[in-house]
């Protein structure tokens, strides 16, 4: 809509030039005031500002020479200015003001007045020769100095046309406006909704400075515009989000826009280079550069016209604007996300065929190296479409099938297909969403939810084959995402699918994941922002107010597999009987209280009727060997509470019988636990580099796996009916019954991934042995102080002093020996033992 406003303003401006060009050249000019009109004629040199009253009828006569000098000529508001023939207007630092509603009456044409006050300035003489009706009027600017531009300004908009040459011809067939310039600069700064600050700038360089833009409007209601530009640069900056978008076209060919009387628009354009970047805070988020771009489009702009006219679109109107489009480019460098990097593609072609007979509605092809890529959608059906004058969109779009395939080259063949893709919106406020996008530079699920009654995206069947084996790797049936407010006014997000299987790959850690879920549902309900809840898990904990949300995950079975270079892990949950409940349920509340600043997760897991198996296979190089862990839980119910602030507080309780089967090199122990309860309470975890507020909840997993410095403090309690301990040959080594273990405190601290301090206090264990003997034991304190890398055992004081003591004892021994020798020599009688000497 804004573009159409610019077009109207531009036409108005041109009209002004034309009007100036038809003022006559009269040496004895003056201003004559009559009852009906104000007539300007001859030569008029202003010595003061000239302001006409509002609603004046002004006639500028033939041959008029008007010298504005440094003054202002103001035609007043809602005036009518009739321009009869050639005229010259000189100006240094003065200005011409055409106020709101003032229309210009040309020979054979009436131009409506502008919506805003328009100011025209230039330094030089603006001359016109000829007449519009007969030969066409030509306007040129003869500059006095270096400033060769004609400046126009309205509201916050500025336009500068360098070396302007305007030719305007009117005849019975219509009007023909030719505008020539070397450069044209347009800029505007404005504020949307009182708080969105935008700056836009358009910079055009002409290929033909005599006719850069030609607009032909015929009386048969056709419109044709031809642009002969060498380059175009369009920049948009949103201060709120610090987002800059730049579009640059270089080496442009002739661009034509033709609109016929049926509002069918045909556009043809080309450019040697097209470059688009989107950045926030100077950091490029998206980037695309194409070479030798050719663009042809045929579109029905009836819908646009209706919107521009601010009328509601009738559902019966065809919303399919583009009837055909063909874009080609030789090469392209595209960066969709920074993480994925820049992708180089060639032989790009995008075709849209919106005709009823078309076999393919959308086809995009490109080469990725030696690899041929194709995206195809046979049809795009708007089963319903309605848009209101305030841009609220209600629609149900249906794409029966969309496919993507890639083959050729060294990489594996890829094939993707989505059937019955639906996008549904109900009262989606497009305008508001756009403004919110400008504010933040991104859109959130909550904004979609806030600005619509319903947003739904669904896929009947989705299948992906990424390894070229002609077998589907990723499948999903009846996948649906729904954002809506429920009957109680709570925001809800519902993700459901009949089944889902997908492989994932973590490039950074070179880990593959294979996920497979049976019929599942994720239901999130909150009276506050769902996006903030999502962000709390994945980005940062930042709630705008007290928050309480409930999330329920229900699944009738799942398999999660992680494949690493050194092994793999797998979690499988299946029903353990046909009578099992429809789903295992994991319900948790996320709660944020502003006055405590604490975010609490309170979860409960119930897998009654389900068997959960965790397996882990690990390969070790030194010494070479493997380990296999298999942990089986049946009918598990568990609860967990995690509270995030500066530290993580946690407690958990698990009720389950379980079986632990481990193969570790040649060791094959197995533990059978009877009905067991494991409880952890008073848990506190401090991770040195983990800040839940700025990193989100899930980042804790990365920090733990990275072995950051940590302090953990907790209490543990375990009860179990029995534990069977099996040896490597699976025979039962021991059975202990009625186990009750409680540990009042476990305290562990890892410093610089080097020194582990561990203290265990008040361990109490009670169990019954295989022979029925009740054993009760208590360990008051246990210290484990272990140096990982640089053991430095304390030196025994006896060892420390051994050298000096050895010397001392040696001296005394020597002295004693000497004394004994002397005595032996001098008094041999006293060496006669066993005989009384008295």
């Amino acid at each position: 809509m804004r573009k159409m406003q610019y077009l109207a303003v531009g036409v108005l401006i041109l009209t002004v030039f034309i009007s100036l060009s038809i003022v006559s050249d009269d040496a004895s000019a003056d201003i004559e005031y009559t009852d009906k009109a104000i007539i300007i004629y001859g030569t008029e040199v202003l010595t003061d500002d000239l302001v006409f009253p509002d609603e004046s009828n002004i006639i500028i006569s033939l041959g008029t020479y008007l010298d504005i000098n440094q003054y202002t000529i103001d035609f007043g508001k809602d005036s009518k200015v009739a321009i009869l023939d050639d005229v010259t207007i000189a100006c240094t630092t003065g200005k011409i003001v055409i106020r709101e509603g003032t229309s210009l009456i040309l020979v054979g044409a009436v131009m409506p007045g502008p919506k805003y006050d328009l100011t025209v300035t230039f330094d030089g003489k603006l001359s016109s020769r000829g007449t519009a009706v007969i030969k066409g009027a030509t306007v040129t600017l003869d500059p006095n100095g270096d400033d060769r531009c004609l400046h126009l300004a309205w509201e916050e908009s500025r336009m500068a046309i360098e070396d302007p040459i305007i030719n305007y011809t009117v005849d019975t067939g219509g009007s023909d406006l030719k505008l020539g310039f070397t450069h044209l600069t347009y800029s505007e700064e404005y504020t949307m909704d009182t708080d969105i600050s935008l700056t836009r700038e358009l910079y055009l360089t002409s290929a033909d400075s005599t006719v850069s833009v030609e607009t032909v409007i015929s009386t048969s209601k056709t419109f044709k515009m031809t642009l002969d530009l060498s380059s175009l640069r369009y920049t948009k900056y949103v201060a709120n989000s610090d987002m800059t978008t730049v579009l640059t076209l270089d080496g442009m060919g002739l661009t034509t826009v033709f609109v016929d009387s049926n509002m069918m628009m045909t556009v043809t354009a080309s450019a040697k280079n097209v470059k688009s970047t989107n950045a926030i805070g100077g950091e490029i988020r998206r980037f695309a550069e194409f070479t030798n771009v050719k663009f042809d489009m045929k579109a029905d702009i009836t819908v646009i016209a209706i919107i521009i006219e601010q009328e509601d679109l009738d559902p019966s109107d065809d919303p399919n604007i583009i009837k055909s489009m063909h874009i080609t480019a030789d090469t392209g460098d595209v960066m969709i996300t920074e993480r994925r990097g820049v992708k180089h593609i060639t032989d790009i072609a995008v075709t849209i065929d919106g005709s009823d007979k078309a076999e393919t509605y959308f086809l995009a092809t490109f080469m990725d190296g030696e690899r041929y890529n194709e995206i195809r959608a046979d049809k795009v059906l708007f089963e319903s479409f309605g848009i209101t004058s305030d841009l609220r969109l209600t629609m149900l779009m249906h794409i029966p099938q969309i496919t993507y395939s890639a083959h050729g080259g060294e990489k594996q063949e890829i094939s993707m297909q989505a059937d019955d893709l639906y996008v549904e919106t109900d009262n989606l406020a497009v305008d508001t969403l756009l403004k919110q996008y400008y504010r933040a530079g991104e859109l959130t699920a909550q904004q979609l939810l806030d600005n619509s009654r319903l947003f739904r995206a669904a896929v009947g069947v989705a299948s992906i084959d990424t390894d070229g084996d002609k077998e589907v790797d990723t499948t999903a049936h009846d996948l649906e995402l729904k954002l809506a407010k429920n009957s109680r006014g709570y925001n809800t997000l519902v993700l459901t699918f009949a089944d889902l299987a997908a492989p994932l790959h973590n490039d950074e850690k070179n880990i593959d994941y294979r996920l497979s879920f049976d019929a599942s549902e994720v239901y999130m309900e909150s009276d506050s922002s769902i996006s903030e809840i999502n962000d709390a898990f994945t980005k940062r904990i930042h709630f705008s107010g007290d928050t309480n949300a409930e999330i329920q995950v229900t699944t009738s079975g799942m398999t999660v597999e992680q494949i690493r270079e050194t092994g793999n892990s797998k979690l499988v949950m299946v029903k353990n009987s046909p009578e099992s409940p429809k789903g295992a349920i994991f319900t948790f509340n996320i709660e944020y209280l502003r006055y405590t600043g604490k975010t609490t997760l309170d979860g409960r897991l119930n897998t009654l009727g389900y068997e959960t198996t965790v397996t882990n296979h690990e390969y070790y190089a030194d010494p070479e060997g493997t380990s296999d862990l298999k942990l089986v839980f049946n009918d598990m119910s568990a609860s967990v509470i995690l509270a995030f602030k500066d530290i993580v507080e946690f407690s958990a309780e698990v009720h389950t019988p379980m079986n632990l089967d481990l193969t570790f090199y040649d060791l094959k122990p197995m533990l059978d636990f009877g009905d067991s309860v494991i409880s952890i309470s008073h848990g506190q975890l401090y991770l040195d580099t983990y800040d839940p507020i700025s990193e989100g909840i899930l980042a804790i997993v990365d920090h733990i796996s990275a072995k950051d410095d940590f302090v953990v403090d907790l209490r543990v309690g375990v009860t179990s009916d029995y534990i069977n301990i099996h040896g490597s040959d699976r025979e039962i080594i021991n059975t202990i019954k009625s186990i009750n273990l409680s540990i009042k405190e476990i305290y562990m601290m890892l410093i610089h991934n080097d020194r582990l301090q561990a203290d265990i206090d008040n361990v109490y264990v009670e169990y019954t042995t295989m022979k029925g003997l009740l054993v009760q034991r208590e360990l008051k304190h246990l210290d484990i102080d272990k140096d990982y890398n640089n053991p430095s055992p304390k030196e025994d004081v006896l060892v420390y002093t051994s050298e000096i003591m050895l010397i001392s004892f040696g001296i005394v021994t020597g002295e004693l020996l000497l004394v004994l020798i002397v005595l032996r020599i001098k008094r041999p009688d006293i060496f006669r033992f066993g005989k009384e000497r008295f």
């Binding site: 570790f664 003591m805 004693l816 005989k835």
Partner: protein, 506 residues
């Protein structure tokens, strides 16, 4: 029959003293077999404090025996017995109630100190209570039954009580019982004549320090020190210095023990050497056999006890036989028999079948009992008969101390020998498992001792390791016993021939 009547008359008193000896010896070996329960209760898990619980008692016991050498002849048996009991009873009680490892260690030393005094006073009392020299052989047999039986029973009782009703009960039991028998024992100990000679206090003090330090040093060597280290050399020099100091004070003091009268120096010297052999090879072997029963054959207390009762019976057979025939045979055949029987007993261990140990283990222990019985009472009586009231207590104290130290040395010898053997056989295997589990697993008898702890279940997880440990530990001890047998023969036969002589004087 006259001899029998005389000994029968004194039997109640002897038995009571023997029982008192038995009581104070019982707690000595309470901690010989590792107990996690006690470690937990003393808050010393997993430190090495536990390794000192047994040696501290022995150190105290040996030290007090050294000190007693100067006390009991000059001041009689009664007061030292009271002193020993006063140390033993409360320290045992504190051991029963304390929960601190350091306090427990200190009390174990004091308990051993008291026990040592009680033991030597009771044995020395035979001199007065049994004036007949032949009867002293029987009397010493009874007393040795108290000593050896106490040590042996202590291991089983300790293991049984500590793992069931708890170690406090074990300590309370001996404390209370010793308190009960203390007064009647003191009444018995009134009998006797005090020496008029001055107490050899300097010599006794030096001997006390030497004995205690030697036990301490041996344990340090076993745990962490090496004789080639500076600290090892330092303590050897220190012991040598004490030895020289002892010689000096004994030489210059005209009333020193060394200057008191002995009959038949050669026989006394030979007996002392045999006492050393008895302790270091035969009696220490008994300790090792108990470990073999527990570790190698995985016997319970109830399963192992009968075998060691057989050993006691074997000892009784030779002890009784000697006491009845010594006047006719003299000492020589028994020394000679011992020199033959001990090696046979030790070597018979090699015949024990690892799969079915019952018969040969019983036989082996019976023969070992016979060998011990040959010496244990005879040596004491032989020495006792060569002293008078001026040096009887001192010499008996020294002899018992010497035997206890020898026992400790022998115990360490077999342990070190089996450790080396196990390390050689299992070192590579355990290094492999240590590397895999990232746990510093021992490859010596400490590993074997884990088989009688709750960690046995963990050891059993290592495939075949339990059997391997048991077998290698048994083999290690067997080789140690073989070396002991050879050493016994090499030393005992020349000593018998050169020092014992054929004189039949008792």
């Amino acid at each position: 029959m006259a001899m029998d009547e005389a000994i029968l008359k004194k039997m109640p008193a002897l038995c009571l003293l023997s029982f008192s000896t038995f009581l104070v010896c019982v707690p000595a070996a309470y901690n010989q077999v590792i107990s996690f329960n006690l470690m937990f209760d003393m808050n010393c898990f997993p430190s090495k404090d536990y390794a000192w619980y047994f040696p501290m008692f022995i150190a105290g016991e040996c030290a007090s025996m050294g000190l007693s050498a100067c006390l009991i002849d000059r001041y009689g048996r009664r007061l030292p017995f009271l002193f020993g009991s006063v140390l033993f009873i409360p320290s045992s009680a504190i051991c029963a109630v304390c929960g601190d490892s350091t306090v427990f260690l200190a009390c174990r030393f004091i308990e051993g100190f008291g026990a040592g005094i009680v033991i030597v006073t009771c044995i020395a009392q035979i001199y007065f209570d049994v004036p007949d020299k032949k009867n002293r052989y029987m009397a010493n047999g009874i007393m040795s039954l108290g000593f050896g039986g106490g040590m042996l029973f202590g291991i089983f009782l300790g293991r049984a009580l500590v793992e069931t009703v708890g170690w406090p009960v074990a300590f309370w039991t001996v404390a209370v019982l010793q308190a009960v028998v203390m007064y009647p024992c003191m009444d018995i100990l009134r009998n006797g004549e005090n020496s008029k000679m001055k107490a050899d206090i300097p010599g006794a003090l030096i001997l006390m320090v030497m004995a205690g330090v030697l036990v301490f040093f041996l344990q340090k060597l076993y745990l962490s020190w090496d004789v080639t280290d500076t600290v090892g050399i330092e303590w050897i020099v220190f012991l040598f210095m004490l030895f020289l100091a002892l010689i000096l004070v004994e030489v210059v003091n005209p009333q020193s023990i060394f200057h008191r009268k002995f009959d038949n120096h050669k026989l006394v010297a030979g007996s002392m050497i045999f006492i050393f052999l008895l302790g270091v090879i035969d009696m220490a072997a008994v300790g090792c056999m108990i470990k073999i029963a527990f570790f190698t054959y995985q016997m319970s207390v109830g399963e192992a006890a009968p075998y060691f009762i057989i050993l006691v019976l074997g000892a009784a057979v030779t002890a009784v036989t000697i006491s009845k025939t010594i006047d006719r045979t003299g000492h020589f055949p028994w020394f000679l028999l011992s020199a033959v029987l001990s090696p046979i007993a030790l070597l018979s261990m090699l015949l024990v079948d690892k799969d079915d140990p019952a018969i040969f283990m019983a036989l082996h222990l019976f023969v070992l009992g016979l060998a011990i019985g040959c010496l244990v009472s005879m040596l004491n009586a032989t020495i006792q008969n060569r002293t008078d009231h001026n040096n009887n207590g001192a010499v008996m104290s020294f002899a018992i101390m010497f035997r206890t130290i020898a026992l400790w040395i022998g115990y360490n010898f077999y342990t070190v020998f089996s450790d080396r053997f196990m390390d050689e056989k299992l070192g590579e295997t355990m290094a492999h498992w240590s590397q895999i589990t990232q746990i510093d697993l021992p490859a010596d008898s400490n590993l074997a001792s884990l088989l009688v702890t709750p960690l046995a279940d963990l050891i059993k997880i290592f495939p075949g390791l339990t059997d391997q440990i048991a077998e290698v530990f048994g083999e290690g001890i067997s080789y140690g016993l073989t070396v002991g047998a050879i050493a016994f023969v090499v030393i005992a036969i020349p000593v018998t021939i050169l020092l014992v002589g054929r004189n039949k004087t008792l």
